[in-house]
Point group: C2
């Protein structure tokens, strides 16, 4: 276990390089504060597809295609694809990526998928089991509402703590060699269940998992939050973010100045009526790919910690009265510039 | 990529050791031809749980607990758990394993999950990112019928090509050192979609994926089927198995004498009314853990290829008229005795 440091952290010996990052998003995301950064904005939630599931799969396909093109590679240069989404049986990814004809590993980590994918992908690269991998995560507002909440046609009111699932796909090409920002460490999360049952307040369910992994990461590497220019959680939203800052303060860590949340960054809370903020596997994936990654490339961020967060329930067990287990994975990326 | 051989195969430098394997199954599996081999047979499909989902999660928990105990380890000796199941958002695994408080990676590969888990777990071990990992896959007949087919209360007739989802959990403890059967190679599958749409004939959807990965494996390692004492596919069932043997014959490989299918082995087709045979992530996981693994331990099998197979659809896209993409992962295990 030469690659391990502390309890839950891998420190990569030959840190994998993020060669390219791509994002494809829906109309609403395009209209938000990060709109100008995304690679491709589709004209409507539905694009030209017959169903929401087909639309999500199509977005997943486009994200991977674009990332590979931006890396100046062909898909055949990629040994493995690691991908996942929110839908039942991960069909956004499998149907979207089936045409690529490459070895495929399906993942399920809900909205923390890109963190799990970056970690496992980096292990394959650093262990010399691959030269290039693609990691990707997707979601779609309409298919997610259908899967987890109410039929959209009902026009249900949404609670102030509810979040808005990001329509989009974020995909990265990571390689074992080359120039670019590097993944230097990864702290893998445990499932944390604090007894929250409210499916419209996932920020509260996920904040303890985010706190748990941050504390573990700082302890394993014997560092303090000021090690980082930015700590970006996945999709806690405004209330979950507040809770995380509070939880960390109680443990003696002040992250208030350097910690943000991709779910807060991606929408304008006031004008876009998105309540607590963005969520979904695409939330941290597209925000990292198009907002943070270019800043790392340019050296405007030297060192950041991406902490995608996931709520692991489904609608059946929630209706049965179950609590919401959550997980968060921390991935350290260094600019190298 | 020093660890790669051919297009899709990893040959492990320091082949990971399967330290222990455990199975927990339902009543019907206990009454089948492999009944005497399983570690624990629950008294009824429902056991003492309130819901099928809770029952499946409980079985998943028991499987992992038992595997760790059989390896004479504590769960804290395990750095990572890799697990998955068939349910929406993988809740069999997340709810079952949330109490273990260990770093967790959720996988989705449908009925091929144990193959994906063994491959990724072995990469973590051979790459020296862990000393011990647990890999596990679970399913439950009742929760699977509810998720994919008809309410059980309807008492629908089942078609002759339909399979019976295995209730159970198969879990392995794999380590980077020690004595025991070793995972020496792994060939990772691509998604194969031959246009099959019949959800009650998954063997036909998965057989081409199994053929694809077998041919790739033989080609990458430059070997013939007779390299193996046994090739065991996951859950093709009787019709899918016939189709696989036929497809391989057309490509010049005679696997008829050495190839079996876990879905054929696990039930008595005639007396148990299981039609095409067993299926579900637990099918290949429990059959490997309790039937093949002891034979490898005793040296009765010297070298085998486990080929878990998975159908990657969900009921929504099937109802929308979509085809069924499939995948298969091949894992080579050598007795060492």
């Amino acid at each position: 276990m030469r690659q391990h440091i502390g309890e839950q952290t891998i420190k990569f010996k030959n840190p994998p390089v993020i060669k390219a990052a791509a994002s494809v998003v829906g109309e609403k995301e395009g209209e938000g504060p990060l709109g100008k950064y995304f690679d491709r904005i589709l004209s409507a939630e539905h694009s030209s597809n017959k169903t929401w599931e087909e639309a999500e799969a199509d977005i997943a396909r486009q994200g991977v295609e674009l990332a590979v093109a931006k890396a100046n590679l062909s898909i055949d240069d990629v040994q493995y694809i690691f991908a996942g989404d929110l839908l039942n049986q991960g069909i956004g990814s499998t149907y979207g990526l089936r045409g690529f004809d490459r070895p495929y590993f399906g993942l399920f980590a809900a909205c923390s998928t890109i963190g799990e994918a970056m970690t496992i992908g980096s292990v394959f690269l650093d262990g010399e089991f691959a030269d290039n991998v693609v990691v990707a995560a997707s979601s779609h507002f309409c298919s997610a509402e259908k899967t987890f909440r109410f039929p959209l046609g009902l026009g249900n009111q949404r609670t102030p703590t509810s979040s808005w699932t990001v329509t989009g796909d974020g995909a990265l090409v990571i390689g074992s060699a080359g120039e670019g920002p590097r993944i230097t460490a990864a702290t893998t999360g445990k499932i944390v269940d604090m007894g929250i049952k409210d499916m419209t307040n996932m920020g509260a369910a996920m904040a303890p998992a985010a706190a748990d992994i941050l504390i573990q990461h700082f302890s394993d590497l014997n560092i303090k939050p000021d090690e980082y220019d930015v700590i970006a959680t996945g999709d806690l939203g405004v209330f979950g973010h507040e809770l995380l800052v509070e939880l960390m303060k109680k443990k003696g860590f002040d992250i208030s100045k350097i910690c943000t949340d991709c779910g807060i960054e991606i929408y304008d809370k006031e004008s876009q009526d998105t309540h607590a903020g963005g969520s979904g596997p695409a939330c941290s994936a597209v925000t990292f790919a198009s907002y943070f990654f270019p800043k790392l490339l340019r050296g405007e961020i030297k060192k950041m910690l991406l902490v995608p967060t996931g709520a692991l329930m489904n609608s059946t067990v929630s209706q049965q009265g179950e609590t919401i287990p959550a997980i968060a994975h921390a991935v350290r990326i260094e600019s190298g510039v």
